[in-house]
């Protein structure tokens, strides 16, 4: 029996955390995440969720509390946005380097300066190299479901997972969401087993300074150096796409909903022109594809769900046979181009399938992105591609650049 309720993305995220039976929550309120932190603290205060809410003075401490609690075996949750995420930056690396399965929501918001509270994805994009798995959601149902999946992935891979969703566009927009049965969620998500259980009888010093080379410890056992530990993190992330796909498949079996593991497609089968992006801009592109199809252009969408680890091999398959790719990104690697654009182009390097890629930066700082505008941009690119323009400078969509 389904239990559909109308709710915001933040509410869906809070329910996702509750159904995951998180034990420790530490979050510092920041727009547009605040409602999520409020709802979870209400759950805990009202006894609906048996967890400890640790109040902190800022985001750096919020993640530090999560790191400590996760180390001693608690399932932990936190959430933030924009400058709050940047304030966590050091601890993001620490969480990943310590191989802790922390799950955090990043409610995507543009970063200052200049100050904005509105949506783009510059916050999480700029944290892509911290060793976290990043999953981008396209609607409120996916937010709830992805949080449950994220714990399973994180606890299997021993790497933290950032569940990203667009501020306001999803966080404050009401949509119908089917709430999973708590018993089923409990079965889907076995209790968290910490990779190391600390005990007073057998104490450990965690994360001591490591030396450049491998060396014997005081007991004469050869131990990894810094580089070996870092390699292990990379190797774990490289293995994780299989875990993400398997988790998505298992979730679909149990709950009947498949959001796609690493990516999802819309009218992709016979598409020649494929629009791509992450989060709500990709779901907006579905409507743009419908518009273009009506005009006779064989358009489709590949929504990229997982940005780190970057599923290069999988995406080469997902874009197999397409004749043109148009990317819409709500962030940029300043001084170059959209980060997704670079990664996607690199995925095709050396392969026989050379496909024109046009890149658009869209919707920074909450500027509205309409399906009609995406369709217009994709159509213009499609015409250019057909006249042989495979490459062109990044276009800032709907932005006065004169």
């Amino acid at each position: 029996m389904s239990n559909v309720q109308i709710m915001t993305g933040n509410q869906a995220a809070a329910i996702g955390a509750k159904l995951s039976n998180v034990q420790v929550v530490a979050a510092y309120p920041i727009t547009p995440q605040s409602q999520l932190a409020e709802i979870i603290s209400q759950y805990i205060e009202g006894g609906e969720l048996k967890a400890e809410y640790v109040r902190v003075e800022g985001e750096h401490s919020a993640l530090t509390v999560c790191i400590s609690a996760s180390t001693v075996g608690a399932r932990v949750f936190t959430a933030t946005s924009a400058n709050g995420l940047l304030y966590m930056h050091e601890q993001l690396h620490w969480a990943a380097g310590s191989r802790l399965p922390i799950v955090m929501c990043c409610v995507n918001r543009g970063v200052g300066a200049p100050w904005t509270i509105f949506n783009d994805q510059q916050d999480s994009i700029s944290q892509r190299d911290t060793g976290w798995i990043q999953i981008y959601c396209r609607n409120n149902q996916e937010i709830l479901d992805t949080i449950i999946q994220a714990y399973r992935i994180a606890e299997e891979v021993y790497a933290p997972v950032m569940v990203c969703y667009d501020g306001f566009v999803l966080s404050h927009t009401m949509m119908p969401v089917d709430i999973p049965d708590p018993e089923k969620a409990r079965d889907f998500l076995p209790p968290y087993q910490a990779h190391t259980i600390l005990s007073p009888e057998d104490p450990r010093t965690l994360n001591p300074v490591l030396f450049p080379n491998r060396r014997a410890n005081s007991a004469g056992v050869l131990c990894d150096g810094y580089m070996e530990m870092r390699y292990k993190l990379q190797a774990a992330l490289e293995r994780s796409p299989a875990v993400i796909e398997e988790t998505s498949r298992r979730f679909a079996e149990v709950f009947g909903r498949d959001h796609g593991g690493l990516s999802w497609g819309y009218r992709r089968e016979d598409a020649e022109l494929v629009m791509t992006g992450m989060g709500s801009v990709a779901s907006e592109a579905m409507q743009a594809a419908d518009i273009l199809r009506e005009e006779g252009i064989k358009a489709g969408v590949v929504g990229i769900r997982v940005f780190r680890p970057f599923p290069a091999k999988h995406l080469k398959e997902a874009f197999r046979g397409v004749k043109g790719i148009v990317i819409f990104e709500k962030g940029i690697s300043y001084g170059y181009e959209g980060a997704l654009c670079s990664d996607l182009k690199a995925a095709f390097y050396g392969s026989e399938h050379q496909v024109p890629v046009h890149s658009y930066i869209a919707g920074l700082g909450g500027r509205d992105v309409k399906a009609r505008e995406l369709a217009d941009a994709a159509r213009a690119s499609w015409q250019e591609m057909q006249s042989g323009i495979a490459e062109k400078p990044t276009t800032w969509l709907n932005c006065y650049t004169g």
């Binding site: 191989r99 190391t196 259980i197 131990c223």
Partner: protein, 98 residues
Amino acid sequence: MTTKKDDSISAMCTVAIGEAGETGDWRSLRPVINHAKCIPSIKKKSACFLCWLYCPEGVIKAAIPVEIDLDYCKGCGVCAEECPAKAITMVREGEDDE
């Protein structure tokens, strides 16, 4: 300690002297105690032991006389700074104590 899968999935070490090797050789200044000035030595009973309390490396033994384990002392000089009797002086490594 029970672990799942990889025994050293994150960096850690046992709590043991010398886990990081004999770090005393990183030192450029060496603490030298003048026991004629040291309060416990003079009183012949446990007295201030502030050097023991403040040493960030835990390499000072609260004994009579006070002893410093130079295999691991990093030469920071905190003990010399804190000693109320000015019984500890920092001497450049390779130079004479006297």
